[in-house]
Structure formats: structure tokens, C-alpha cells
């Protein structure tokens, strides 16, 4: 009997090197020795854990991504990417497969939710000035992730092969053909032909289920890794330690309240923020950070499940290439652009979205002041915040008009 316990213990330790952490050393080890946990720091600043610092938006986006991967993989088991079968798959999921309807609802609402949370995350990072040096490139990676999120949502939109899907993609893909010179080629490439048919559906399916999620996973990994390498969350200047560790007169480093790792001596982009000035301001990530992450995950899952039980994901009649519904609308997050497209296809389809992406990517390289990093709505950034607010307001207004105030033949109507 004693022998059996020892064997089980050995077995357990062959998987988990550390036991349930009880001491400070074990709390460090548990983070550094696990592939899945080592993306976390061993210790985090108390400020980082405060909900109002980040509103948890990046985490919510990541959790929704995980939920989308899981529900999406399950949905793939019942989905056939062919015009003759795709719509039937949807009906099967809806009415024949056990719990198929809730998985589809979860996938649909999580996709909308992720677009929202990624956009809000972008706003949070802007309003707290967290894109400032040395985090410029991570902001660019974030913009790429926003584009990937929209791409994932857009490619997924076609898969049900209903009227909603077919015409949203018709409009969306024709916008691509307005790009100068290469526009028609891009559309042909995207659709694998001239029409939205089996070739287009298969391409969107492969993009949606393999290529784009793969890219997103890689980029999310980079995004989080870079947050760690840039010294955690952006913090106000006052919270950063005074300066680099300097040699004492006798050629030795001063013995502080804390020992310094090699990384604090090497020249990084912002090595000061790698170490906290006050060790008392830091607490162990196990359990404080992990606990909060799990709590947030449970809340996201509970919220998504509740919404998916209460609200049915839309499914219109079978796609009919000969009958355009009136009005035909793109997904809601593109309705601001569709509203612009109503005035000029080139302006709304190519120029404005191109400029938005370009401006977003260039932002941290243009706004070079260090002041206000890590602080919500710092007074010194009044001008850039005003510009951002104005853009956000116009885009929101256009989206609201396109969503609620446009009726048949794209005429202005009241939403009630």
C-alpha cells in the first residue's frame, strides 16, 4: 500500500514538478516551470491587478478567442463547406444536433463580443497612453490583431450560406475590387473565381478555420510576450524606479532590498520598469493574478452562456444569388463603412479604412511624448485625446445610422 502511494506520488511529480505552492519559492517555481503559466510574471504590481487599470479587456478578448476556438472546432464536426450542404448543416445544428443550437449561438455571440472587446481594448490602451515608448510595436501588433479579428468575423459571416451571409459578402468583396489597380485581382483571389460560389465558400472556410486563427494565435502569443518584455503594463513615471542600477565606488553593485536579475543590468528598451522600486508594492502572481484571471473567465463564460440561451443567432432563408434582400446590410461593424460606401465606394471601401489603419499604426511613432503613459486621460494629452474622440464619435455615428436608420433602398428611416 505504501508502495502504491509512492508510485502514484512519483507519477504525479513526473507531470507536475512542483506541488501545490505553499512557500514564496514554490510560488515562483510554479510559474517558471510550467509552459502554460510561464507567460505570467512571478510577481505583479498591485496597480496591475486593480480592475480600473485595464478593465480586463485584453483578457476578455483572449478568453473569447479561446471559447471561439473550442466552439468552432466542435461546429466544424457538423459543417460541410459546400453551397449545396452548408445551409443544411446550419439547420441540422439548429434542430437536429443535441446542443448544436447553443454552440452555434455561443460562437456567433462570442464573435460579436470579441469585436467589441478588442475595440474597447484599443480604446483603453489609447486613453491610458500605454502605446508610448517602448510599447510602440506592441500597439502595431494589436492593430494587426484587430484586423485579424475583423477578418475572422467577416470570413465566418459567409459560412451559414443564408441570405444575410451571401449579400453581406457580395457587398464586402465588391468593395475590395475598388482598390486601385489590383482590386479586381484581389476579389478574384479572395473568391477563387468571379462569383460567390463553391470556390469562395471553401476559401472563406479555410481562412476562417485555419489560416486566420493560426495567425491570430501566433500574434496573441507575441502580443502577451511583448507585454512582459516591455516590463508589464505601462506605468506612470512616478511609479517607475529612479534609474538603472549603477556600480558603487568599490565596483560592486549596491545590495538593495531586492536582488537584481541579469535583465535589470542589460540594456533593454525600458529596463527601469522591469523592476519595481518598492518590493512591497509587488505581490505573487500565484494566487493573486491567477485567481482574478479565473474569476474573469468564469464571468465571461457565464455571460456568454446566458446570452446564448436567451438570444437566438440569426439565420435567414437559403442564399439566393438572384434575389437581393432589401435593404442588404454588411455585418454591423462594417455598417459605418457601408454608410460611407453609400456616398462613394472608393471613399468608404478603400480610402477611409486604409487611412484609419495607417493612422492607427503610425500613432505611437508620431505621438512621441512620454508624458501620460499609464494614466487614464492624462491632461497633457488633451489634444490627441480630442482627435481620437472625434474620430470615434464619427465612426460610431455612421455605424448607428447604418444599423438603425437605414431601411429599404438605403433610405433614411426611423428605427421604430
Amino acid at each position: 500500500m505504501k508502495n502504491a502511494t509512492a508510485i502514484l506520488g512519483d507519477l504525479w511529480r513526473s507531470v507536475w514538478r512542483t506541488g501545490w505552492p505553499r512557500s514564496a519559492k514554490e510560488r515562483s517555481l510554479v510559474m517558471t516551470s510550467s509552459l502554460f503559466l510561464h507567460i505570467h510574471p512571478v510577481k505583479v504590481k498591485k496597480r496591475t491587478l486593480r480592475f480600473t487599470t485595464t478593465l480586463g479587456l485584453g483578457m476578455i478578448s483572449a478568453f473569447l478567442f479561446i471559447l471561439l476556438v473550442v466552439t468552432g472546432a466542435l461546429l466544424m464536426l457538423y459543417y460541410t463547406p459546400h453551397p449545396a450542404a452548408a445551409y443544411r448543416s446550419m439547420k441540422d445544428l439548429e434542430f437536429a444536433v443535441s446542443f448544436g443550437w447553443i454552440l452555434r449561438n455561443m460562437h456567433r455571440w462570442a464573435a460579436h463580443g470579441m469585436v467589441v472587446s478588442v475595440l474597447l481594448h484599443l480604446c483603453r490602451v489609447f486613453y491610458t497612453g500605454s502605446y508610448k515608448k517602448p510599447r510602440e510595436f506592441n500597439w502595431v501588433a494589436g492593430v494587426c490583431l484587430l484586423i485579424l479579428t475583423l477578418g475572422l468575423s467577416f470570413t465566418g459571416y459567409l459560412l451559414p450560406w443564408d441570405q444575410l451571409a451571401y449579400w453581406a459578402i457580395t457587398v464586402g468583396s465588391t468593395i475590395a475590387s475598388y482598390a486601385p489597380v489590383v482590386g479586381e485581382k484581389i476579389r478574384y483571389l479572395l473568391l477563387g473565381g468571379n462569383l460567390i460560389g463553391e470556390g469562395a465558400l471553401l476559401r472563406f472556410y479555410v481562412l476562417h478555420c485555419f489560416i486566420l486563427p493560426g495567425l491570430a494565435l501566433l500574434l496573441i502569443g507575441f502580443h502577451v510576450w511583448r507585454v512582459r518584455k516591455d516590463g508589464g503594463l505601462a506605468a506612470p513615471e512616478a511609479d517607475l524606479p529612479s534609474n538603472e542600477v549603477s556600480e558603487g565606488e568599490d565596483g560592486r553593485f549596491p545590495a538593495g532590498a531586492k536582488t537584481y536579475g541579469l535583465m535589470s543590468l542589460s540594456r533593454g528598451p525600458d529596463y527601469r520598469s522591469l523592476e519595481s522600486s518598492d518590493p512591497a508594492d509587488e505581490i505573487f502572481a500565484w494566487p493573486h493574478l491567477l485567481y482574478r484571471e479565473m474569476l474573469l473567465f468564469i464571468l465571461v463564460l457565464a455571460g456568454l452562456t446566458a446570452i446564448s440561451i436567451l438570444f437566438q443567432a440569426p439565420l435567414e432563408e437559403l442564399a439566393n444569388p438572384t434575389r437581393t434582400p432589401n435593404p442588404a446590410k454588411a455585418p454591423w461593424y462594417f455598417l459605418g463603412l457601408q454608410e460611407l460606401v453609400h456616398y462613394s465606394a472608393f471613399l468608404g471601401g478603400v480610402l477611409i479604412p486604409g487611412l484609419i489603419v495607417l493612422a492607427l499604426m503610425a500613432l505611437p511613432y508620431l505621438d512621441r511624448g512620454r508624458e501620460g503613459a499609464g494614466v487614464w486621460l492624462h491632461p497633457s494629452r488633451r489634444r490627441s485625446i480630442a482627435v481620437f474622440n472625434a474620430c470615434l464619435f464619427v465612426l460610431t455615428l455612421l455605424t448607428v445610422i447604418g444599423t438603425l436608420f437605414r431601411g429599404p433602398n438605403w433610405a433614411l428611416v426611423w428605427p421604430w
Binding site: 438572384t322 434575389r323 437581393t324 432589401n326 460606401v341 453609400h342
Partner: protein
């Protein structure tokens, strides 16, 4: 002997460039081939030239909408002509209205010839060449656009 400086290219340098060039060339080849691979050579799409029916099937002085083919065929005193129902703005299918055509997606309006009256459409609706086939059927060729003067006279 000071070979490295005198020679235009040392043996080591020469081999290095062959190596680098070979690897770069291989990747460039794969990249170009991969890009070309993405453009399909064979399309399983409906034919662009098709029969639409006998001239007598189309009532005089009005347009007949052929839903599946997405064209309107008009039979007038001057002859037959075919107008595409695909909006030149973003590809939605237009409907017949009192004045001509209307697009449900972004509100473009066209007159009865398919010329833009209002809205974002950048070009008039396309007109396609009509022919009379040997079987006596009208044949539309969607790859052969024609101008608004086109009429097919059918003498029955």
C-alpha cells in the same frame, strides 16, 4: 600574398553568394508559385453565353426580368436589348421601378436605359450583346458589353 584584396571576389565570397542566392531563389520560386497557385485556372461557374428564349416569349414594349440570369430583356419596336441587373456599385441585384431601376443595397437609382439618376453607382448598368441563334433562340453574351444604341432587329 594578399589575395582577398586583389581578387574581385574571393572563393569564399563566391560560394557564399551562390549559397545565399540559391536559398533566396528557392524561396522566391516557392512564393511566386504559391501565389500563382491561388489563382484558379478552371472555374465551375455558369456559362456567360446562354439562350434566353424565343423572341415571341417576350411581351412587347416592356422588360422581362430573367431572375436566374440576372438580366432584363427588353422587346421594343426598335428591337431587342439586354440590360444587366447587377448594380455597378457593389454587385446587388437591382429591381424594376416606376422610373427605371433601383438598387436595394445603397439606394442607387437608374433610368430605363440603366443610366445613373442618383446614388453612389459609378457607371450605368451594363448592356450585353444579343444574337439570334440557329435554333431561333435569343442568345446573351455576358462577356460582350455593348452601348445603349444596340438593338437586335428580329424579323419574324
Amino acid at each position: 600574398m594578399n589575395t582577398a584584396k586583389e581578387q574581385f571576389l574571393s572563393r569564399r565570397g563566391f560560394l557564399k553568394w551562390i549559397g545565399v542566392g540559391g536559398v533566396a531563389g528557392t524561396f522566391a520560386g516557392f512564393l511566386l508559385g504559391g501565389l500563382r497557385f491561388l489563382f484558379p485556372n478552371v472555374l465551375y461557374e455558369p456559362p456567360t453565353r446562354f439562350k434566353v428564349g424565343k423572341p415571341g416569349d417576350f411581351p412587347m414594349n416592356q422588360g422581362t426580368f430573367l431572375e436566374k440570369k440576372q438580366i432584363f430583356v427588353f422587346n421594343t419596336d426598335e428591337g431587342f436589348y439586354a440590360v444587366s441587373s447587377i448594380c455597378t456599385h457593389l454587385g446587388c441585384s437591382v429591381r424594376k421601378s416606376a422610373k427605371g431601376f433601383e438598387c436595394p443595397c445603397h439606394g442607387s437609382k437608374f433610368d430605363e436605359n440603366g443610366d445613373v439618376l442618383s446614388g453612389p453607382a459609378p457607371r450605368p448598368l451594363a448592356w450585353y450583346r444579343l444574337n439570334l441563334g440557329r435554333t431561333g433562340d435569343l442568345i446573351v453574351d455576358k462577356q460582350d458589353p455593348v452601348d445603349h444604341k444596340f438593338r437586335l432587329k428580329v424579323t419574324a
